[in-house]
């Protein structure tokens, strides 16, 4: 029994040490930590990836994720329309160096979201994520039918009237 407890403890210790090492080796932070904006706005998140080890970190992949936490709509979001730069490949971060990645984003839909950046190091089995940045998007619709309707209906009608005028004038000339 003692042996079993000892073996289990060793495994847990090894996993914890490994996780702590991976987490400490690479650190990532996201900025700004909180955003309040309107639908259609463009914002940019900055992710700072720090290599805390004495060795260069090679072939790092960093990507941004967005999750909807609005009541009743909880789900991870597909960033297809939101951001063109979903993943950044970093060839190398020198020992104790940092890399700053930018993720411009267009705010497509309203609601409460959390945004975080995840870093995947090919030499480690454990991904590292930043803290979550909270994003509140206010619903704004640029619906403007009163403004567009006079032009949308009026202009074809006006051209149609000129068209009829020319047709009648030509008809009279022929007769």
């Amino acid at each position: 029994m003692k042996r079993l407890i000892l073996a289990l403890s060793s495994v847990i210790l090894a996993i914890t040490v490994n996780y702590a090492y991976a987490a400490n080796r690479i650190a990532v932070s996201i900025n700004p930590p909180f955003v309040q904006a309107n639908m259609g706005d463009k914002i940019t998140y900055t992710g700072t990836i720090t290599n805390n080890s004495d060795k260069a970190a090679n072939n790092i992949i960093a990507y941004i994720s967005l999750a909807n936490i609005t009541q009743g709509k909880e789900s991870p979001m597909d960033l297809e329309d939101w951001s063109a730069n979903k993943a950044i490949k970093i060839d190398a971060i020198p020992p104790h160096g940092t890399y700053e990645g930018k993720w411009p984003m267009r705010l497509i839909d309203s609601g409460s979201y959390v945004v975080y950046i995840t870093v995947v190091d090919k030499n480690s089995n454990i991904p590292v994520s930043s803290e979550m940045s909270h994003l509140d998007i206010k619903r704004i619709l640029r619906l403007n039918p009163n403004n567009v309707l006079p032009v949308a209906i009026g202009e074809p009608l006006l051209i149609g009237i000129v068209f009829m005028f020319i047709a009648i004038k030509r008809g009279n000339r022929v007769n």
Binding site: M39, G40, A84, I108, D109, L141, R142, L143, N144, P145, N147, V148, L149, V151, A152, I153, E155, P156, I159, G160, V162, F163, I166, A167, R170
Partner: protein, 249 residues
């Protein structure tokens, strides 16, 4: 002066006719549907005014090019098929003057399309960024593109002497020029996509609109693309002159 006379004749016969006016009614209806959708559809309304203005500018440019190509294809081949070119050649007007007059009418056609689109541009871009500068760029680059594609199509029509064939080739050229619309952003970022974008006058124009209206960039960013479009304008005029001077009955 003689070119101006030919231009007037072309405008009277092709533009100021009930058939010619149908183009403008259709242009207006399409622009009405497009701008109404932009401003009233809840999903499309998420686009900011600049983005909407940019998209409608692209559409107007493409429409101007398309009508210019049809106009150009008819210029000489149509006259040959109707048997009216001989009479035109017998008049004391040089071939280049005839071509200049017909090209002038094609540009007048673009000017009318541009004038029709102005109220839509103001409604869609109202309250947004870079509306007036965007319209100025559309006026200049749209005119240059109308010259390029109309002159090319006219030259082709003079060489091929068949309206159907010159129209088909012109449409292929139009599809090729419009390829940036069909290609994804990722494909356009490859070296081949970038080269294709740079040598394509239509892509140069829409990238300039993007840069001016959405990114608010100054003329120094546009100079290279505008220079390429100007180069194509000269090239197309040379092609038209050369094609027309070789035209025999």
């Amino acid at each position: 002066m003689k070119a101006a006379y030919i231009m007037q004749k072309e405008i009277r016969e092709s533009i100021l006719t009930p058939k010619g006016f149908l183009w403008y009614i259709l242009t207006s209806i399409i622009l009405s549907i497009l701008s109404y959708l932009f401003l009233t559809n809840s999903e499309l309304s998420l686009l900011d005014q600049g983005q909407m203005l940019y998209m409608i500018m692209n559409f107007i440019t493409a429409l101007g090019i398309l009508i210019g190509l049809v106009f150009g294809s008819d210029a000489f081949a149509g006259e040959i098929e109707r048997g009216t070119l001989e009479a035109l050649f017998l008049s004391p007007v040089k071939k280049t003057q005839i071509a200049a007059g017909k090209l002038g009418a094609a540009i007048a056609n673009w000017v009318i399309i541009f004038a029709i689109s102005l109220p839509y541009l103001f409604v869609v871009g109202k309250g947004g960024q870079n509306l007036l500068i965007g319209i100025a760029y559309l006026a200049i680059l749209g005119t240059l593109l109308a010259i390029i594609f109309s002159a090319f199509s006219m030259g082709l029509s003079a060489r091929i002497k068949s309206m159907k064939n010159s129209l088909i080739i012109s449409f292929f050229i139009f599809l090729l020029a419009g390829s940036p619309i069909f290609l994804s952003a990722a494909l356009r970022k490859t070296w081949f996509g970038r080269v294709l974008d740079l040598i394509n006058p239509f892509a140069d124009a829409i990238n300039t609109f993007d840069s001016v209206v959405i990114d608010s960039q100054g003329f120094s960013y546009q100079a290279g693309r505008v220079a390429i479009i100007c180069g194509y304008t000269l090239l197309s005029l040379w092609f038209l002159k050369r094609s027309v001077s070789r035209l025999e009955m």
